[in-house]
């Protein structure tokens, strides 16, 4: 199947095609999934180089499992998010205590004029605030509100109930709101 014709092909079908030796299917899967994998890993690790290593490792595991993929059990993206979560958790546990100091802090006084800069500052502020959350809350909030993964899928990949996911995201958002409160005015918000 030509590469261009694979845009509408489901992830699972592409994986089967790759397992049967179709290199175009691998390319289509890679182009579709790598940005999501890399984005999620970057948000969890706050380290681009490490996130790239995790993204490569996660995709490598996908290539390896392709021939044994059990269709209909889980979405490919859900499976990948789980792999990335585990890989990032391992890395964070190894360097626990170092990560917080390495997070890029938004510089005071730079905010406001151009909207693009505000957006950038918001993203940086959120990243710093996310770093203050407990690990599971951070994962759940990122998956739900940034990656856009549905609660049942998050429950599946985190091995918890949907209610537990809702609880994690609710507590996470409250903590984020508190952590961001001090920066809100600088980042274009007003309590009016």
């Amino acid at each position: 199947m030509p590469f261009d014709a694979m845009n509408d092909t489901p992830d699972e079908a592409l994986l089967v095609l790759y397992a049967n030796g179709d290199p175009d299917a691998a390319k289509a899967l890679m182009m579709r999934l790598t940005p999501r994998v890399l984005g999620y890993a970057t948000r969890l690790l706050s380290d681009r180089a490490e996130a790239e290593d995790v993204a490569q490792e996660a995709m490598l595991r996908l290539w390896k499992i392709a021939p044994d993929w059990r269709q209909g059990e889980a979405k490919v993206s859900t499976w990948l998010y789980r792999v990335v979560t585990n890989l990032c958790t391992d890395r964070l546990r190894k360097k626990r205590g170092v990560g917080l100091d390495e997070v890029a802090e938004p510089e005071d006084g730079r905010a406001s004029v151009a909207q693009g800069m505000i957006e950038n500052e918001r993203a940086l502020a959120l990243r710093a605030a996310l770093e203050t959350l407990p690990e599971r809350q951070r994962q759940a909030v990122i998956l739900r509100h940034i990656e856009g993964v549905a609660n049942p899928e998050i429950a599946q990949l985190m091995d918890i109930s949907v209610e537990a996911v809702e609880s994690l995201t609710a507590r996470g958002k409250r903590a984020l709101t508190a952590a961001l409160a001090d920066r809100r005015k600088d980042l274009g918000y007003r309590d009016d």
Binding site: Y18, A19, E52, Q56, L60, R122, L176
Partner: protein, 126 residues
């Protein structure tokens, strides 16, 4: 609206941050994509190799068995002999009697030869 009001109404003010984070999604570098594609090709090639080895191994065992008994012609001969043997065993061709008569004569009658004729009497005597 205060922070507490926003939380109470469900507008916690975080959506703008999440939106900014979504817009800030990193773009995979060409180098990373190259590494991932190379991994895919390596895994695919490794699978092909292992499949080929299994096929060769299966062919090897079967071929060795055939060679040990002299190849396909011998196998065909053995199969034919087997079928003929079964056929003879079931049908008992009449032609065999004719051959036997010519060899040993039609007048000769078969009889039992008692190789230990006195055994019965010795047994009775005790």
């Amino acid at each position: 609206m205060t922070e507490n009001d926003k939380l109470a109404t469900g507008d916690d003010g975080l959506e703008a941050y999440f939106e900014a984070a979504r817009a800030d999604t990193p773009v995979p570098s060409t180098e990373l994509l190259g590494r991932i594609m190379a991994d895919a090709a390596t895994q695919s090639a490794a699978r092909d190799d292992s499949l080929r080895q299994v096929t060769v191994l299966r062919q090897g065992i079967f071929s060795s068995l055939i060679e040990a008994i002299g190849g396909w012609p011998t196998l065909a001969g053995m199969a034919t002999a087997g079928v003929v043997g079964v056929w003879i065993g079931f049908s008992q061709p009449a032609g065999l009697d004719t051959v036997a008569e010519q060899l040993i004569g039609a007048d000769n009658t078969s009889y039992l030869v008692d190789l230990v004729p006195a055994f019965g009497s010795e047994f009775e005597e005790g």
